[in-house]
Symmetry: D2
Subunit: 324 residues, 4 copies
């Protein structure tokens, strides 16, 4: 009656997923956990079985479904193992480090004939994005023609290298733009500010819509994501991300968080509840392996456009029927 | 490991509590339900035992904790039954219809020697109120001196009679003002617009703070609750209740809901999760039976002030040590 | 063709009026100025005649109309002198220090049989208040039933004594509330926070409407005036007083000024342009001597209510036909 | 002592300039007017001399300075006539219809050796843009690296042809972006939505900054201009263009105007006051003939980029010392 979930990886995101499963998710029990740091796993066990080997966790009878939150480089292998075991998994983005690896997973799932993988593009569950999509789908703004995205981090992590602004951050906009517009990008143009930050990336979709995204890794003032969808009859956009406003010291306003966790706390919670329900019902939801593949393949091609001034044609390959 | 919950009353609020327990609450299972309309109960059972008699549900071995969401007039009797059975209960407000009844429940709980009852003053779990209280408690606005409350309903229900603006609506402000300020009201003054709606109610607290509340039962434009807490160094207030903004037809803005359910959906969810955790841990949280009593006794005295122009002194009685 | 204006008093407000006349007002020429500090007057002359005696300025052939911005205690005498000379005057509020003096001016103007005096209640020209009144008069919010006013100063001036929160600050709300609602106040109730600041003043009008005003002399965080007018079908309120918003240091928002001058700069400018046009056309506009008298007489009675908890009945006397 | 101004062209903008000079501008007198429709001119004369021939007005002894608000095609010839007469002029944008004509005017003014022409790029006087520039110049947002512009018209006028979105609308962003950033654009890339509307134009400046502009001629919902300037330490943007907010019919928000006149009413007024003062003082201000030329030459080259997908290099020519 309650879903037995195993959690792999107990870093920042893994620990948050663990907390969400235990404190804010209906219908799930964490029966197994696994982390490279066995001591950390032990501290967080609370009665769950502790595995040293993630593949053993995936294979275990105690586990009906898996959350993959281990380092990015391990995602592909673990996702394939879940498919091999026939177990549903919620896999943190990115699905895989390369297009080739992503494609292999898509092919494995297609061969299996049913969707078991959901990729953790949590913005699809963010109440603001959901309301924006609802407004567009309900015809409230007319046909969508242009999407403005702003994605600002206070500071890039130390381990960030150049293309990661695209492969790590901009992938969120690739996914959410496809989801909001119901369309795939077909070209990309990149403009770069001095020092390579911020980037201004313009995409055209197969419906002719325009998607403009500012990716600013070192915006200093805080973590801030914004989007405005422009239609032929009106627009819909995120409100400022705040539930209270203060007056103090000649100033009116609200604060920003330093990173994405508080901003998308609701999205992560709703995603987890929805995933558990979707596993229980057998109806796949959220971002699919194909969506994860597309985010990766588009990002890879945008990286190639970083060098030149030209408009780059994007090629995605044919979407398998499984993801129709 | 999971809390066995029985739900009494499956009207608007009861059905929402049932949904929250099943879809958005960790660590709880609905094992029993009860409603005056047995057919409705049957439709919502999903495997839970259906009771015709709420007292039988409360007494059942299948039930560890109870949610009371039946008509207001039944709250007192069912709360007393839960105390008699030694079972924790989340009881929708009001605790009881009269001061005398409320006091009887408080006395029963005091005799028992431990807090089993939580009253459903869900605003204490609303993210905006929580942030306001945090700001005040953290000293961000200096000492709070004045609280502005606005409580607007689109239209009073048909069954509303005069004093219900106070006993049904204003009770929320009595409770949330006490909680925000950490103080009890000691006087009340009522001003009335033509036709008796809106009311403007001014209270003074035992710390000398002022609490101003507009209660407008027929504000027409929508359901809207607002609050601003004024301190000696600044203020904190609710932001507009919206996550998206639209442009359309020469207009910019957002919509209001028609009633309180969408506005306080998060508050109800968080309250339920928190209640289940608090029952599991044995540490009472939320509004206590004493808080429920105070809301009722203050409301009763404010009703008496409706007739005259005078400032009325409020008398609450002594707070038992159990609620210190 | 251009109006010859004399300006009396060159302090903060007088100097601003002088600047407005010279730099932002059509159809006026400053031909004479006067200040207790003759040196200051000399520095600001720019070709205007400098008078040591304000009565001589008023009587001078060079002066067709007068701006009175000298210390409050002098207003009454100078206003009477303008009436005696038959010259229009824009007199800074308050019209006079006492009800008796105010009444004497009203009687003098009534005896003269035409309106020559305009009192500088500049909020009547503030674009936000004007839009609020327009919305109400156009029926956009239904019948107005309640007005919420907030009047916050960063810090009371040194020379402020207790009742000046009423006689110096709250007079603005007395005037603007009468103007917005087209009604006179008939009762007042005062609630006082510890230390006498802030005040919460509730008035009822002769139409049964309620007016709630917070007057906070030491709000610390900045100068901030807010108002919301509540009608039976909707509300209209001031937007936050800012034309730009900034993001910086984990913060989003805008700044407040330290005093009223920047907040009401547009109002002062529009008032001055309107006054010059109204003098040229002979059609009196803005707040009349009667309005100035009412602000003073109501303030005086509210001060008397400061001591007790009771609702005080306000008495204004009969409005002369001249001001119908 | 007061500037004698002649106004040429009494259409929408010309009539507004006339009104501003008469009702809201200090130090100016309208002594002469001229319009192709002599009857309209007669109706608006109010004592000013009515000229049938604009060149006669420019040459007249009654006229010290000229406002040119006649049809666009006449601007260049009239501007040259003002230079020939040595009379200062405020010329509505565009300065001229082509780059060649614009350059001829610049050369004539350079030959004269002093700046007599101001082009009516009124946004430089809009309080929001002024505050944005002040914030940037004061270092409040760090070095500016990116400017987001949004320029939406409710509906394109009937007489609009394709490139006019650039030559008539986008010219405003060319000018204001140069002014805000203190930099000239060096490349432009254009993306086009289906049907050619909206356009998304990306420019790079000679400082490496990026300028992104949405130009939407048929945004339907209203006239709306927005800008956000992004710096290395923060951002500054326009607040929503409203002084009041309303609640009504389940909706909160404010209205947009149908065209630019109400949005930029303050800008036009301030521009006019500033122009009159600058003529009186002999110190040129506002957008110069060179600025007018640059807007035209950049627009012409952006039009050429409309056809292709390529990034276009912009060439402006050398700035004469007169405009250093
Ligand atoms: Mg993620
Ligand atoms: Mg409730
Ligand atoms: Mg004043
Ligand atoms: Mg213009």
């Amino acid at each position: 009656m309650t879903l037995a979930v195993g959690v792999i990886g107990l870093g920042v995101m893994g620990a948050e997923h663990l907390r969400l499963l235990r404190e804010e998710t209906a219908g799930a029990t964490v029966t197994a956990i696994c982390d490279a740091d066995g001591e950390r796993a032990g501290r967080l066990a609370q009665g769950a079985a502790v595995f040293a080997d993630p593949l053993a966790l995936i294979a275990s009878d105690r586990v009906q479904a898996v959350v993959i939150a281990s380092p990015d480089a391990t995602h592909a292998g673990l996702a394939l193992a879940c498919l091999a075991q026939g177990k549903p998994a919620l896999c943190e983005k990115p699905l895989a480090a390369t297009t080739a690896e992503s494609l292999r997973i898509v092919e494995a799932e297609v061969a299996l004939g049913r969707r078991l993988l959901q990729i953790g593009y949590m913005r699809r569950f963010d109440p603001a994005y959901v309301e924006m999509k609802h407004a567009a789908d309900a015809g409230m703004i007319g046909d969508p023609v242009l999407l403005h995205n702003v994605h600002r981090n206070a500071a890039a992590p130390d381990w960030f290298t150049g293309p990661m602004a695209v492969t790590n951050s901009f992938v969120h906009e690739i996914d959410i733009s496809r989801w909001l517009l119901g369309a795939d990008p077909v070209t990309a143009t990149v403009h770069t500010a001095p020092g390579g930050d911020p980037l201004l990336i313009t995409m055209e979709t197969d419906k002719g819509q325009l998607v403009s995204t500012e990716v600013f890794m070192n915006a200093r003032y805080g973590y801030h994501v914004h989007a405005q969808l422009v239609g032929r009859a009106g627009t819909v956009q995120m409100a400022q991300p705040a539930v209270t406003l203060t007056n103090g010291s000649l100033h009116h306003g609200h604060t920003y968080p330093e990173n994405w966790v508080p901003r998308f706390r609701d999205a992560y919670r709703i995603q987890m509840n929805d995933w558990v329900r979707s596993v229980a019902s057998g109806k796949a939801a959220g971002a699919s392996a194909w969506d994860g593949y597309v985010a990766t393949v588009v990002a890879e091609q945008v990286v190639s456009a970083l060098q030149g001034a030209a408009r780059v044609n994007l090629s995605l390959g044919a979407r398998p029927d499984l993801y129709a």
